[in-house]
Subunit: 313 residues, 2 copies
Amino acid sequence: MGHLNQIDILVSEVGPRDGLQSVAATMPTELKLKWIAALANAGLREIEVGSFVSPKLLPQMADAAQVVVYARTLPNLFVTALVPNLKGAEAAFKAGVQKITLPISVSEPHSLVNIRKTHVEVYQEVRAVVALRNEQYPHIEIEAGLSTVFGCTIQGEVPDDDTLRMATIMAELGVDEVGLADTVGYANPTQVRRLFTRLRQELPGVAGSAHFHNTRGQGLANVLAALDAGVTTLDASQGGIGGCPYAPGASGNIVTEDLVYLLESMGLRTGIDIDRLVAAREWLRQGLPGEPLYGFIPDAGVGKNFHYAKKAV
Amino acid sequence: MGHLNQIDILVSEVGPRDGLQSVAATMPTELKLKWIAALANAGLREIEVGSFVSPKLLPQMADAAQVVVYARTLPNLFVTALVPNLKGAEAAFKAGVQKITLPISVSEPHSLVNIRKTHVEVYQEVRAVVALRNEQYPHIEIEAGLSTVFGCTIQGEVPDDDTLRMATIMAELGVDEVGLADTVGYANPTQVRRLFTRLRQELPGVAGSAHFHNTRGQGLANVLAALDAGVTTLDASQGGIGGCPYAPGASGNIVTEDLVYLLESMGLRTGIDIDRLVAAREWLRQGLPGEPLYGFIPDAGVGKNFHYAKKAV
């Protein structure tokens, strides 16, 4: 994890994937590449640059392989992609990603609606992806991104034990990391602390990122709870674009700009320059004209008492 | 504090004061009363209903006495007001408030710009207000609301020691409670935990409310930090209206609707009904046509897994 040198928290930008896949318009590839370059230039060390899904399902992601190839030329950037199945994994591995994230619904009803697979079918797919990686691409990381962990629009409550069981199964199947995602903005800080604490206790080498949506305005409070539980990788999207196209009302990842301000203010180094980060919004504006962009820091600016976090002595 | 029965956290609604004083339009008194009644009907136990300042300075607050008289007729409501000086305190006491909050800038440059008083002059005023209360209105509570605690637009950084020194002086002058306010949205959770922890350790009987603005989107993360430090009273304003008219860019208290969702989701009882609370926005819409209202819960609704907090067994 050389991309984690000299930072305390890894902010993983998911806007080019979670953001762009959820807006109706397709961002032109050329502008997408400029946006990703600007994000990397602002100091983001990890970007989920696309999703290897059927272009019929998500035409916004049709250029995923091309975007990966370009992103790999950017210095100091770890290039990841979302992959729903073996076919997507093959394409992502070939394109040259450094990590893939497999979205896994803890709620089986959600899994059936979202990818039309039972849990058993999902396990088979994960096993096949891990086998391919082990045989041909042993250097590529695999993360399982557990979704609907904090509640599900279909199932309602999702028991903690279901999440921990799924995380254990994923680890047994050979994934390297298990992250927890609040797919529809249902999470509260009590839940977040409880679940990430258990995940880190029960699967210490495997516990991964926190992925929150700001649908109910609770995103940064949940981030604080995740930090308390020891989480060091946080997903966010520039301008808060993004959501789950299959879960109505699930719009908006937490805003990268506001997250970086929170972390740096708290003395946690992200390696990210806020001015350059805010400047990168320009490409999003050009690439998705009329699309609303969220975030407070771009308008309010940093406080007069703000300074970037320094290395603890 | 009988108004705190059967709740874990007191949400103190400051919209009718901090909110209304910061918008250009003046809300008609009749609609203001209907709004306050609707807020009380939603279960809010404490409302800061106005500010006893010169109507020339803040015409939006000219009806403060009338509003207090009406609010006192509402069941289960603790009626408070902001009071900047002895003259205001006399009027507030006469009108029948149950508590006053004296705004005290820890930053002396801010105090000079805001109320044209040095710290020594401020102490004299506080002494006079406490003396009047002690002689004629011994049952009325006095809170010092320390402002610019987390940073100041004029001074920049405000040392923690300055805040603790001011809190101690206020306690010595005879105020009952000292709250800490993030006047301009500069606070971060590390600071919040540190300051409220010290306040509660050094002045255990006196430590009071947390007052945050959401200027930089950090409001609910700061709330979580305050809860961790043991704070049990949180200021908020419906629709996130409000700010400091003397501090540019300081718009927006934290949103009551989103705060109540956070607290109840976490298992902390507020006594507030979210549906009735959201319904109360109607009066704000009628009373301040065109004024932007903030908050996620009114649009997104509560999650399918949401339930109100229950009494811990």
